[in-house]
Amino acid sequence: MSIWAGAETRLLVQGITGREGSFHTRQMLEYGTVVVAGVTPGKGGQRFEGQVPVFNTVADAVRETGANAAVIYVPPMAAAAAVIEAADAGVPLVVCITEGIPVMHMSRAMPFVRSRGVRLIGPNCPGLITPGTRTKIGIIPGNICSPGRVGMVSRSGTLTYEVVNHLTRNGIGQSTCVGIGGDPIIGTNFIDCLNAFQDDPLTDAIVLIGEIGGTDEQQAAAFVRERVTKPVVGFIAGQTAPKGRRMGHAGAIISGSSGTAEEKMAAFEAAGIGVMKRPVDVVELLRKKGVNPGEG
């Protein structure tokens, strides 16, 4: 079944008529994703591309179409409110692509999201993709992915593509790839993903792509040591990043002496995670852990 995105996914798109929303909805449809509804307040009653019905509210869309997942492409200032609206409408999986949401907005949204038992992925993330069922929620390019049994979780976008590309070209397919986002406050962290991959019968091995800032990777490493029996390989971006500077992602900042790449790589090694020095090393390390092309 892979994780969170699969054959059962009935997706609704918040901000479907916007510039980003319309572009990526077309891409998701082309890939094969079941997109059942769009939401843009004031444009209810229209049809996107002549096929996807557009609603004024998420609640309307869910009631009319049975949507069970939402992806958000609305501008930063309205994005946290869009997350709350989806959670309030009872959508169990909400994926927020939007970059640039004020952290205070997310801090206020999170207690509500949790109170509704919603799985939020992101914000500021590329979303997730399950190649086996051709289900894409977000913006990960479908053409670089291939069906297989390696689960992938990452804080980054294009760096994820780089690593996935190495896997695919070397015949190692993926069960699900999840981009959890580069913001300081995100709905789903590494541990949530590791836990899901560990329990997923269709995943045999896990690739974890982290970066500088915070301590999520260290906690992920501790979780791997205690709970994960499947092979894990990992990468940390930002080994050459200076201290105290925000490296693009709002969360990618070394504060004081904490959050450095060295510290995180050491935590990986101590947990038995194969540490990639370069993105290309993913193939070799997975092979060492017994993942072979074709089987992958």
Binding site: F23, P76, M77, E99, G100, I101, P102, V103, M104, M106, S107, R108, M110, P111, F112, P126, I139, I140, P141, I144, S154, S156, G157, T158, L159, T160, Y161, E162, N165, G182, P184, I185, I209, E211, I212, G214, T215, D216, F235, A237, G238, Q239, T240, A241, P242, R245, R246, M247, G248, H249, A250, G251, A252, G256, S257, A261, K277, R278, P279, V280
Partner: protein
Amino acid sequence: MNLHEYQARALLKAAGVPMLDGDVASTPTEAEAIARRIGGTVVIKAQVHAGGRGKAGGVKLARNPAEAMDEASQILGMTIKGLTVHKVLVVPAAEIATESYLGLIMDRETQRPVFMVSSAGGVDIEEVAARTPEKIVRLPVDPTYGLFPHQALTLAFVLFRDFTQVKAAARIMEQLYSVFGGNGASLAEINPLVTTPDGRVVALDAKIVIDDNELFWRPDLGVLRDDSAEEPSEAAARRANLSFIKLDGNVGCVVNGAGLAMATMDLVKYYGGEPANFLDIGGSSSPEKVINALKIITADPHVRAILFNIFGGITRTDDVANGIVAATRQFKVNVPIVIRLTGTNEAEAIRILNGVGMTALSDMDQAVERVVKLARGAA
């Protein structure tokens, strides 16, 4: 975005936090006038975004207006960690009975604003946190409700015994929280919060960092940005909507995506080179962004070779190729450029580059190895 101390003071003062008198000066004469108005001994403090101002000679005592003028003329124009001092803050030299620390940060782990208070104030709180973490009391605040009065009181009791001082400090906690929440700060601290010999509780120094994501809808905060306090190339990049950080190496990097940009820098190092910068051109790249990126990177005289590393997803690689071609037509790039691109519209991008005699690689390692070699050869 970091605020200067005088700007942070203004926000706190507007919220009612008791502070000593004081004002900001851009010239020695202004500093003298402020010192005269305040009377007595004053402290002249350089307003730059750098730690260790005191050690660098940027904080001085002046016993009278003439000395204030003299010290201000020394400090104004001096360079601290590469940043020129354009303003000084003039405040009375306080008599201090006790010093404590009061801070609020947006905490990743609890996903909430977290108060940190410590009776070990005046010093670097990170050092206190590292050496004696038990001396810092932490309290997460649920932003849905804000800081409850009993929470403010609890924190104040950590710092003081005297109930008048406890009440005063609790009030300051509430005021600090309102400044933090009301301005979308990621950090707001008062260090030190002092008591004077006559028992008053006063904020002596303040630091506020605003979440950059707030600035889009808060132009009133945006105007507080001091361009002269930034590396000029970084200010130029910000105006061009590029995420850029200058480093000390000689391999210029233009990458799409922050994670890939960091990984590219790391790979440059792996192959024996030194990155000259971090640069993320972002997702939706226009040719214009590429032109601006090249302008900023080529302005750095240390750059010996430039690497483009583009993994097309949302980013169209043909947009990037068009930008490279347009830039090299607009101005002469005197260092070699290595281009790696793969993904969306790759074939079209390669056709565009080949049309002007340029080539592109599709493998990241190959491209990095080549650019490092070129940078070394040219050095």
